[in-house]
């Protein structure tokens, strides 16, 4: 295995004007978040008895889980199907998934009325509830993601443990411990990698099952018993675009050259995946005869059209073109569109499609809700920037300063 690129901590200044701006958004979010915990959900959100779920579930959780799909899709490609050339992107994708899911959990924690009972699903089981399954799978998957990230931590500190002051004497034992941990992980990592993919498939689809029980309240453009399948297929489709966009954005921000060859390769998988999704979506609509709802002009039909045309069909066509797949700008735009499409799809499914039979007040997300959602995204970006400076995540040309080659990616290489 020849590595001309090596994951290494990136050497950049943390604060730039952009980062300061993002910090302000994060701060604004934190203020409203405090408001939610001190004064209750009603004080910050516009949720009511007709609309029990808003953007915190639709975006923070629904879209959050889908957009973190880069983690399990690249893990499957790189570690399970052993397409080695993609190993360079498994780490950034893993980090994004880890952060993404952490904030999905934060979103749930914020949205549920009794956050101090968040552990209840571990004790009180309701097998018939898809939400129970989503909850359990997300908890386990989050644990798996942290375990998968551990080798990156051990790699960073093995032979490099420098505890301050009196703790110095512990340097050697800690180093030994890390090495033992690393060896243990090395041998068992494949278990976690496969588990991560299985858990992902389960909860990505069950997230779609959530709205099936509310079928009488759902707009027919989205309502279908195959929602779980559609959610799974769209999660497959959005995984690689997410990695591509993130790679391009990160390299720009860190002053590196994007790995065109790898990204173009990844892009090759996107059109077929999108195609399968579209085939099922359109086929289902034809069978259930729901195209007729598109002739009505209302919020639902407009949102649906934007979602499917801008977010799925246009990028599907773009990813089919070789020219697009080989241009950084083309890749960026096409990937962005898919991400937009899946993001909108989750928002539409959880918020726009939900039409309660008795509407007393319509739901429009409050400034506070939007602030918290944006705040979470901002904190995620800030943490990402912080972590790639500390840990060897982003692959860079090996100038010798990079981490020792001995500890490269462990996952699945056994």
């Amino acid at each position: 295995m020849q590595h001309y690129m090596e994951p290494a901590p990136v050497k950049i200044k943390y604060f730039t004007p952009g980062v300061i701006f993002i910090s302000l958004i994060a701060l604004n979010g934190i203020i409203f978040l405090l408001g939610r915990f001190i004064f209750g959900i009603g004080a910050v959100t516009n949720l009511n008895n007709q609309y029990p779920w808003g953007i915190w579930i639709g975006l923070d959780v629904g879209a959050g889980v889908a957009l973190a799909a880069g983690g399990f899709t690249t893990a499957a490609l790189g570690h399970i199907f052993h397409k080695d050339k993609y190993e360079v992107i498994t780490r950034p994708a893993l980090l994004t998934a880890m952060l993404g899911y952490t904030f999905v959990a934060m979103g749930v924690f914020t949205d549920i009325g009794r956050w101090y009972y968040i552990w209840h699903p571990l004790v009180f089981w309701n097998h018939s509830s898809p939400l129970f399954e989503v909850g359990i799978c997300v908890m386990f998957y989050l644990t798996v993601l942290y375990i998968e990230f551990l080798p990156v931590v051990t790699e960073r500190f093995i032979g490099n443990v420098k505890l301050p002051g009196a703790l110095k004497r512990l340097n050697r034992p800690v180093d030994k411990l890390l090495r033992a941990l690393d060896r243990g992980l090395d041998k068992t990592m494949f278990i976690f990698i496969i588990a991560g993919v299985v858990l992902s498939c389960l909860h990505q689809s069950s997230l779609g099952t959530l709205m099936v029980i509310a079928h009488s309240k759902m707009h027919p453009l989205w309502e279908t018993p195959i929602l779980p399948l559609l959610f799974l297929l769209s999660a497959f489709s959005v995984g690689f675009p997410m990695v591509i966009m993130e790679s391009i954005a990160a390299s720009r921000s860190f002053g590196l050259k994007p790995e065109k060859e790898v990204l173009s390769g990844l892009a090759g998988y996107v059109a077929p995946l999108l195609g399968v999704y579209l085939a099922f979506k359109i086929g289902d609509m034809a069978i259930r005869d729901t195209f007729k709802y598109l002739t009505e002009f209302n919020l639902q039909s407009v949102m649906f059209t934007i979602e499917v045309v801008v977010g799925f069909i246009i990028p599907f066509r773009m990813f089919m073109s070789k020219a697009v797949r080989e241009s950084t700008t083309g890749l960026f735009i096409a990937s962005f569109l898919v991400i937009f499409g899946v993001f909108l799809n989750r928002f539409n499914n959880f918020v726009i499609a939900y039409k309660p039979p008795y509407i007393l007040d319509v739901y429009i997300p409050s400034f506070g809700e939007i602030s918290v959602t944006l705040g979470f995204i901002a904190i995620e970006i800030l943490l990402y920037r912080l972590l790639v400076r500390i840990f060897p995540v982003i692959s860079q040309p090996n100038y010798g300063a990079a981490a020792s080659a001995k500890f490269e990616i462990k996952g699945g290489s056994k």
């Binding site: 915990f37 004064f39 209750g40 959900i41 004080a43 959100t45 949720l47 008895n49 007709q50 029990p52 499957a76 399970i80 199907f81 052993h82 080695d84 749930v108 949205d111 549920i112 009325g113 009794r114 956050w115 009972y117 968040i118 209840h120 699903p121 009180f124 089981w125 309701n126 097998h127 018939s128 509830s129 898809p130 939400l131 129970f132 399954e133 909850g135 494949f190 496969i194 588990a195 299985v198 498939c201 389960l202 069950s206 099952t209 959530l210 709205m211 099936v212 029980i213 509310a214 079928h215 009488s216 309240k217 018993p225 779980p228 939900y354 309660p356 039979p357 007393l360 699945g412 056994k414």
Partner: protein, 299 residues
């Protein structure tokens, strides 16, 4: 009860029917999905909206029975509240709405609304921690010690009933009619039924109420629209309604006869049938991982 037993004996449905002969006297029985069958011990209430005078005493009694601020007894005589359609919420677990008749000239009619206590409740099936349960007497009740406040029950309920105390930072509750579960345990009637001055609400075994409902529909075909709302809707509800016109689509949502959680439960149980699908996927991925690795080593 005796005649019912006799009937059962001769019925072609003996055996299969055992407990859930929900509508023995109803000729529609053969067409009914098996889901409409409810255990015979389930209690219910028959609401006859042609009798309801809109006095809203049930609202007052309900609040009293559930420790909610009741306000002045006389204030309930104010009929101006009927100008707006209301919904049960965290301050009132039941409310009475007034509806304009389809035929101009007919009198307005009033309908009391609360949790329907579905025979196959979506809320119970959906709740992440099983905080909602269908009790032996038919009541669907909520357990404050389990609920995490996710509000999925509200998303799931086809009648849009459960409400949430959004204004509370600590221990917000899911608020909905509990069929006076505690009062029933003490042998008392539900508070609303007890106070109703005109017997617009009749409490009893669901099977008997259905019989009574159909008796009224048959005896007074001019007075009633021939439909018992709740007999088959979403697989049946413990609360049953009859009225001068079709309540489906006007007072209540138009719902099919299939149970609300049916599709979801078959998806869930299909996916997790003895954990076979997840384990099979695990094995498949493990196999691929092993084989591709081997290929690579051979290359």
């Amino acid at each position: 009860m005796q005649s019912r037993r006799e009937f059962l004996k001769t019925s072609a449905l003996i055996g299969a029917a055992t407990m859930g002969v929900s509508a023995v006297s109803n000729s529609k029985l053969k067409a009914a999905s098996p889901e409409s069958a409810a255990p015979a011990e389930h209690m219910g209430v028959l609401v006859d909206s042609t009798l309801c005078i809109g006095c809203r005493k049930c609202e007052w009694a309900c609040k009293g029975a559930h420790g909610l601020p009741q306000g002045d007894f006389d204030s309930y005589e104010d009929r101006s509240v009927f100008k707006k359609m209301r919904r049960p919420d965290d301050t009132a677990l039941t409310i009475v709405n007034e509806y304009k008749p389809n035929n101009l000239g007919d009198p307005d009619f009033d309908v009391k609304i609360q949790c329907m206590h579905c025979e196959h409740p979506a809320c119970v099936s959906a709740c992440i921690v099983g905080a909602l349960s269908k009790e032996e007497n038919g009541a669907v009740i909520w357990d404050t010690d389990k609920c995490i406040g996710c509000r999925y029950c509200m998303v799931a309920c086809p009648f849009q009933v459960p409400a949430f105390e959004y204004q509370k930072a600590l221990d917000p509750k899911i608020m909905k009619c509990d069929f006076c579960f505690d009062r029933q345990k003490e042998g008392k009637l539900p508070a609303c039924v007890e106070i109703c001055p005109v017997e617009a609400l009749v409490f009893g075994k669901r099977v008997d109420l259905l019989e009574e409902a159909h008796r009224r529909l048959k005896n007074y075909p001019d007075k009633y629209f021939n439909h018992v709302y709740g007999e088959y809707e979403v697989g049946g509800t413990s609360w049953l309604y009859i009225g001068s016109e079709n309540l489906s689509g006007k007072v209540f949502p138009k719902l099919g006869t299939e149970t609300a959680p049916g599709v979801t439960e078959s998806i869930q149980h299909g996916l997790f049938a003895y954990f076979v699908p997840p384990v099979a996927l695990y094995a498949l991925l493990g196999g691929i991982m092993y084989l591709t690795k081997k290929n690579e080593e051979e290359d």
